[in-house]
Symmetry: C2
Subunit: 399 residues, 2 copies
């Protein structure tokens, strides 16, 4: 009887996965227009961004989705089919998708479960099947589906309607549940979408003055702290989404590194939110650090847990495939701190996954993923100066 | 301040009414295919029924809606637009609507807020705007919108989506909220639809063995008793719907009279549910009793209240325009009873409407609406034998 139940659960899990076109087995990576451009978008920006995704090395580092956020919309035609803004997207979405695809990239679009999008453009409520069919015909690969102007809709049901509309349209699309966390999408999102937001929008700040709930100003640390308790909901095909990246938009270099490293550790979708066309070498180097990206894209898809929180220091652990481990040391404080970390006093002991490593029994060699250099082993205590708002990110491989 | 509030309420009421195309100012009247034919429907049945609505005098008595219930559906086309079953409705819905309109009647159709209708045909979930547009293009005048296969949709929001889709389609349609009462549609239906069901489906019985909730077998008396407390929610443009009529389907003549009289008193939509093509003279005479219908269609649109419940006798009062009153004596029991009703001991005292008549101060003449004859006045006690399951229905006019 018990075996039957487990078999049934496996079948259900497999069915659901196949149903979702088996997308996003690792956290999706790409770019989104909102953080830098908000409503100032047009097809020229999207085309140029796509071109620079290739020339900058972003594509080859894994960033394949080029995602148009709010404000692309024109009006619905007489049959109710949505049209792009004819001034901003005069060539139409199909041509844009064809071009983006020709560069080896994928195109994402945005809509909303309510009557209007957050910026006031036509929402998909009551038009779900028409909209999904339209996106499929255009060649869209990814839908970010927002939650403005939804009155008292049941969130899980509203997202299920769009999921089923996408299935009916027949084209594989990643479905990004942009519900902001108020209705705990981690509890119901797994069978519906591939990722779900956990907070309100990210703002360009390290540690923001918080406001009220969804409408708070969420900075890097605020979002980080909100991930507590959510890791068990994430895994291949269904991810917690701490929102898009602010890397390159004005944080300090240390903060950008920390932000990117944390998102990698969180197994978060990595959606660049900067102007790819004009990014600095420093920004490009952060976003395309393949060793950090590899931590994010590890095939096990396990979100990190916090091993230690002591004063301004926090230490995060992410179990990786092949018994490797990523460990991140974060200095949350405004002053440098001197790390003196005796591995022997700690164990990797992850109740969720059963992963256990005792540094007294086994020695790991360390690789510093930002220095891109070997950094000793766990046999000796780790001693290092960690600047304010910076991180030390290590990959541990058993010797 | 108080006057401003009242003015504002009037403006709001007027706005809402105008928004709903100002339909169903009195309870809608017509015919529906379900009670007799269930899924055994086709365009021939609808056309013949429409013809007999005219020849039988039903139309001229006020029954203008010819409503197709579940099972008319074919499949959706490649753009998602629903088609009628090509075998059952080979001429298409537009041609059928044109024919029905040519007879001075209106055509109603059926859909469902969920993924499938109750009989398993395509539901409108996620297709609301397309479906409303399709109905409008066909020339549909009335939509019965059911509640099967709705998972955890929020009912008010699901019906609002279809309401807004109908508004967008631009053709006036009565919206019948067929939610069965579990989510108390009387609390939210007024601004959304023109009528809402209060119970599960009516069955062909006087007093059924009840089951569980929605899936109970609801007979005439069971539905009657469920109206307790609901009258305050009804009025012009927004009606409690105790479901369609079973008159002519197999109840006794007394029960048919009582059922019809009660629905008239309840200001209920009067939707015949029998085979109009072959109805008996007795059935036709009940359904087309213009004096009873006039009580139902009274312009004030006030649902009756129960003045008295004593043993097997119940007495219902419906305030009418021009200070007239309808009073119904119902014998719920299985044996005849001898009415001996001393008007002087009772007052019409309706707290909801403020209507007050003291029979000691004012005498009314009585008209028996089934005998179609004068029946004395309220000056003397009413003495009459009332057979089992039968009614005495009086119209009172001040002398």
């Amino acid at each position: 009887m018990k075996h039957c139940t487990i078999l049934l659960m496996l079948l259900v899990a497999f069915g659901a996965s196949a149903q979702k076109f088996d997308l996003a087995k690792t956290p999706p990576m790409g770019w989104n227009s909102w953080n830098t451009f908000a409503c100032n978008i047009d097809e020229k920006l999207i085309r140029e961004t796509a071109e620079h995704m290739v020339s900058s090395g972003m594509r080859d580092a894994g960033y394949v989705y080029v995602n148009i956020d709010d404000c692309w919309h024109g009006e619905r035609d007489s049959l109710g089919f949505i049209q792009p803004d004819p001034v901003r997207f005069p060539s139409g979405m199909k041509a844009l998708a064809d071009y983006v695809h020709s560069l080896g990239l994928k195109l994402g679009i945005y809509s909303d479960a309510g009557t209007k999008t957050c910026a006031g453009y036509p929402g998909s409520r009551g038009y779900e099947y028409q909209d999904a069919l339209t996106y499929a015909r255009w060649g869209i690969d990814y839908l970010k589906y927002d939650w403005c102007n939804t009155d008292s809709l049941n969130p899980a049901e509203a997202y299920k309607t769009m999921r089923d509309a996408i299935y009916a349209a027949g084209r594989p699309m990643v479905l990004s549940i942009c519900e902001w966390g108020d209705n705990e999408p981690w509890r119901w999102g797994k069978e519906i979408g591939h990722l779900w937001r956990t907070t309100g929008d990210i703002h360009l700040c390290w540690d923001c003055e918080l406001g009220f709930g969804t409408w708070s100003k969420w900075g890097v640390l605020n979002i980080l702290d909100k991930q507590e308790g959510l890791r068990k909901y994430a895994g291949p095909g269904h991810w917690n989404d701490p929102d898009m990246l602010q890397v390159g938009n004005g944080l300090t270099a240390a903060q950008d590194r920390a932000h990117f490293s944390l998102w990698a550790m969180l197994a978060a979708p990595l959606m660049a939110g900067n102007d790819i066309r004009s990014m600095s070498d420093q920004t490009r180097e952060i976003l395309t650090n393949r060793e950090v990206i590899a931590i994010n894209q590890d095939e096990l898809g396990i979100q990190c847990y916090r091993m230690l929180s002591e004063g301004q220091l926090q230490v995060f652990v992410k179990p990786l495939a092949n018994n490797e481990v990523a460990i991140l040391f974060l200095n949350r404080g405004d002053t440098a701190l001197n790390l003196d970390f005796d591995w022997k006093k700690f164990t990797v002991n992850d109740g969720m996954t059963g992963r256990y490593h005792d540094f007294n029994q086994q020695t790991f060699k360390l690789r510093d993923l930002w220095e891109k250099a070997e950094a000793g082993t766990t046999a000796a205590p780790l001693k290092k100066m960690l600047p304010a708002h910076d991180v030390l990110m290590l990959r541990l491989t058993a010797m």
